[in-house]
Symmetry: C2
């Protein structure tokens, strides 16, 4: 199980490799939210999302002889790119299993980062079967996207940085809102804050209809989403909290927040105009909660984690067209 | 005249107020440029451009009794917002003289940052006359956009950060390309690098048809642009190098680079896709030079300063529509 010692060890391994992302702010966002808003810009992390931290943490902790054989991951998105780059920088082969209908650009990006991409047909093939076979044949190590202690430890390094950056801003008491899928990032952040900044409380933000973590925290047991798709927040549409992450969230996280797709698009347009960063819908959920659900938040300041910026051009154009500032 | 001691003093005054912006990179940009590309993301600075540094440097250096009377600036753009915020945070009144046909949003932003905006008619009124009158009536101090030693010193703090960040990346020899209008930023950076990282050489990037600095460096005397408009790079269409900045550039800067408007739009689209930052056309000129003029650059690495991100929605949409990655 991940603990603060593992997070600190991961921070040591990530030093000089992961980027220390800035904590951004704008008086214009403060005005909308009615309190000071700080945005931890993980979209500026290598590969455009926090996923690189967990991937690096896992790959860097492997024994040399295992790493030489290679790693494998299932992902059509941010985890794929994080694992591909972390593996390449360690000189380790990476196999990423992706659905053949994944966006062409994500497939190309993952390949361009040096990974071998194995495509499968969602309708006729079983990705787990393909993964098992390849892993056995080649001795590959599976890197799970969130339910893996080393990955949670890597994501937790975000929390160590937030604690330091909040202190530098004079914030010792605030909600820290985190865009939440399976809970790997928020679990790591919650563990880090619990140790280093106990006045900061991690809270998940999820899209409407996909609030499995909010409902699980409320009921005390693992609840699942009814659907696997139907929100633009593709990066955080995980079916249920993880087995490793849920107990951590249950122990340390505050109540969940729920945002609409349009609120995420609005937050993307405001992040464009006021912070000059690019967010994907799922990476804007925490900022959307901070801006548009102020009555559900406590304190004079709020910190949001902007988890990723891997958005396609069309989606970004639609955010700006619908909600971008006119001149 | 600005020197390294003034830049270090400005860095002390800016500490905890200006943002230390990250040095970003992407393997995808490296591939396009044929060398490692590092981007100093000053679009993430307060008010969305490096101008806040110079403004803070000037306002913070004023005597209390002068500052209490207030400051004045002429600008329709980034300098206006930088001065407005720096003044507000010092509790000083700010008057910004803007043309009445300036983009409505820039006027509103400047007002929202607490400044008194005085509009004038470009056709019938003389802005200098208005400025002189208000300055005399109220005892306001003029903050020039670039030809002012304290402003150059503030912009130079960008150079101190670049020197440190380059060292951390193992770069001791590289061109540092800077989007260039009147030369305040590049002069400050060149002075800082000369002292702290002499293997790094500042070079201006300008839009085609507005390469007054390139031509001035080549001829050895101040050359003017033939036109005041006709490029989308509005932030850097200054008519001629400054009287204070030109001798510094002449002594310390390498030859200028020239980019087209379309190259700036392409660089904006690539910065969106690969770095997850928002650039305005004039803020993308240095990156455009690094990506699309590789034969004019020396060394295994290149550093570009992305000077600002205050772009309107329509312009950004056009960059993405023309040059954004399709899925």
């Amino acid at each position: 199980m991940t603990d603060i010692a593992m997070i600190r060890a991961a921070a040591g391994r990530l030093d000089g490799h992961a980027r220390r992302t800035p904590l951004l702010s704008s008086p214009f966002l403060d005005e909308i939210a009615g309190r000071r808003v700080f945005v931890k810009a993980e979209c500026l992390q290598h590969t455009g999302s926090f996923k690189f931290r967990g991937a690096w943490s896992a790959v860097s902790a492997m024994e040399d002889d295992e790493r030489t054989k290679g790693v494998i991951a299932f992902s059509s998105g941010n985890h794929a790119q994080g694992v591909a780059l972390a593996a390449r920088e360690h000189g380790a082969p990476a196999v990423i299993i992706m659905p053949e209908d994944a966006p062409r650009m994500k497939i190309e990006n993952t390949r361009a980062l040096g990974a071998e991409v194995v495509l499968y047909d969602r309708a006729t093939e079983d990705r787990d079967e393909i993964g098992d076979r390849l892993s056995k044949e080649r001795g590959l190590t599976l890197i799970k996207p969130f339910d893996e202690p080393l990955v949670v430890a890597g994501q937790g390094t975000t929390g160590l940085e937030i604690a330091e950056q909040a202190k530098a801003e004079g914030i010792d008491n605030a909600d820290v809102i985190v865009c939440c899928g399976g809970g790997g990032l928020i679990s790591g952040i919650a563990l880090a804050l619990d140790d280093t900044a106990p006045g900061l409380r991690a809270r998940p933000a999820e899209p409407e209809g996909f609030d499995d973590v909010r409902r699980s925290l409320a009921s005390g047991g693992i609840e699942r989403n009814n659907s696997a798709f139907g929100s633009i927040c593709d990066a955080i549409l995980t079916p249920a909290p993880g087995k490793i992450t849920f107990p951590i969230m249950q122990r340390l996280c505050g109540p969940g927040l729920v945002v609409t797709d349009d609120e995420c698009l609005k937050a993307m347009a405001l992040a464009f105009a006021r912070l000059k960063i690019v967010l994907e819908p799922g990476g804007a959920a925490a900022l959307a909660a901070a801006l548009f659900h102020p009555d559900e938040i406590e304190g004079e300041s709020v910190i949001c984690v902007a988890t990723g910026g891997n958005v396609d051009t069309k989606m970004f154009l639609s955010a700006l067209t619908k909600f971008g500032p006119s001149q």
